[in-house]
Amino acid sequence: MEQVMQAPTKPGRYDIRGLAEPDAEAPRTAVISGTTAELDAADLSTRRINLELRRLLHEEGVTDITLHNPKARHSIAVGLLLRCRITIEGSLGYFGCGLADGAEIHVKGRVGWSVAENMMSGVVVIDKNAGSLTGAALRGGDLVVRGHVGARTGIDQKGGTIIVGGNAGSMTGFMMQRGRQIICGDAGPGLGDSMYDGVLYVAGKVASLGVDCVEEEMTDADNELIDRKFGIYRLDRPDTFRKFVCGKQLYNYDTLEPSERKLVL
């Protein structure tokens, strides 16, 4: 039976299916000058902020947006699939800057869990701390956190680079499959647990290594990569980096029978 959906009366409300403002439209409140724009998000709902960003980028030809008063809300600046520059004057909640492809985003505050989740390409720079699951399932691009990050940074990472200026929590690089992480501070327990591939560089102390994560010699190529990345983002480079990779014992199979395997190993 066809059910009549109630249009939400106030911004920030949900319809009966739990969808946030399904009929919302871009508020058209941004101040545009040429290809730059300023948007004050203080009185806008999350959905209307994202609609306004889309309108500016796709309809107004704006390429450089400054967003004011994000007030630590969730899911801001998600799904931006074109080259653009976004500056966020404040902090974001969970799932900020997710699903980006090509955007350059600078967050001047802190971010909650799962920032830049599933980014395909582009740059996200965060000036303060980040929560857990930073750069979850990252596919490409650079994610730079100048402060500390929580647990499980780069979980399921499939490419790209995550740079952390401070410390990282437990299970950093959990199940990562490709890409690299450069951590200037300490790493928590279970570093690189169950990783398939990829590289983790840690300059500080490592509380413990996860299953099938092993240390390897740093090469000139590794140092060159770190120098280059740190040059781009003007970060102080510690000179105590160690390199951790997959030991290739856990998810790498061969044709040996279990009994033969015992003999060989």
Binding site: H74, R110, G112
Partner: protein, 309 residues
């Protein structure tokens, strides 16, 4: 999912009722089933007891009001019988009450005696702790119980998305550490060795009102403190003793503490400011109290922190 929040004014007092309402309302999406507050007012030599005699889910059937009145008279007469000098008993809603009285004896016999009245549950008992919990979002509960004027030193709160037990007041947080005065806990997560701990604590004589795993944290901590452990030591030990994923906040008469399990599976954002420490599952809730840009961070796995006022 659940959302938890805590605030402690490390010097002085604040509008904990209003602050906590705003913080919890900002996290309504994390748990719309029920909302609870543990607020600390001015310590008094009178004991404050919050109790309920029915549940909002109970049918408002024939004789409901009369039953409530009878139960209320029974609670008052039992308080008098056990030696409490009653100051006043106020109805806070049609089924929840606040009683103040003078009493020097052990709290457990008193609480047990009151809970023996049909439908009665003691929600909190202490010299400054008051637990208010009911179904609905924070604003609904705050309005119902007139919490906006509540000033005090520290508070914790909880919005609940029921996963393992019923949507009723008994299943709502915060939990008072029955029968220990002025200790309460809110919790976000699941404990996997709940039954083991419940049986263990029941064998030592503790009662549990709900099927909710969070209830054991409160009793576990208060028991450890009663055995002579400082709060922080008891909390560190709890990380060894409790299994599962959890972030919990605990309050005593002058302290607020947080603990996070070793997986860091449940979120908590922390801001230590000038004269106030605010914690919440989401930064958006902290912004309801502090509008300006603030420095905040997530505590790491296995961390225990305690603030005193």
């Amino acid at each position: 999912m659940c959302g938890i929040a805590g605030i402690i004014y490390t010097s002085g007092r604040g509008d904990v009722g209003r602050d906590m309402t705003n913080m919890l309302q900002a996290m309504k999406h994390r748990g719309p089933d029920s909302t609870g507050f543990a607020l600390y007012g001015e310590p008094d030599d009178l004991l404050v007891m919050r109790f309920k005699l029915a549940d909002p889910n109970d049918g408002n059937d024939f004789g409901y009001e009369e039953r409530l009145n009878r139960s209320r008279r029974e609670v008052e007469s039992r308080l008098a019988k056990i030696g409490a000098d009653i100051d006043r008993v106020e109805g806070e809603s049609e089924y929840a009450y606040r009683a103040t009285f003078r009493y020097d004896g052990e709290l457990k016999p008193l609480a047990d005696y009151v809970e023996d009245v049909p439908g009665a549950e003691v929600l909190s008992l202490g010299h400054s702790l008051e637990i208010i919990k009911d179904l609905g979002d924070a604003e609904t509960v705050a309005e119902q119980y007139r919490l906006n004027d509540f000033t005090g030193t520290h508070a914790i709160g909880h919005v609940r998305m029921a996963t393992e037990s019923d949507v009723d007041i008994a299943g709502a947080h915060p939990y008072w550490a029955y029968p220990f005065s002025d200790v309460a806990v809110v919790h976000n997560g699941q404990l996997t060795n709940y039954h083991q701990w419940r049986r263990r604590l029941e064998r030592t004589g503790h009662r549990f009102q709900s099927e909710c795993d969070s209830e054991i944290i409160a009793v576990y901590l208060a028991q450890s403190m009663a055995d002579g452990m400082p709060l922080e030591t008891a909390m560190k030990q709890s990380l060894e003793d409790l299994d599962g994923v959890f972030t919990y906040l605990v309050v005593t008469q002058d302290q607020l503490g947080m603990a996070k399990d070793e997986m860091a599976a449940k979120p908590l954002v922390l801001h230590e400011g000038d004269g106030v420490v605010v914690l919440a599952s989401e930064e958006g809730a902290i912004r309801e109290v502090l509008q300006q840009e603030i420095d905040s961070y997530d505590p790491y796995e296995g961390e225990v922190m305690v603030w005193s006022r």
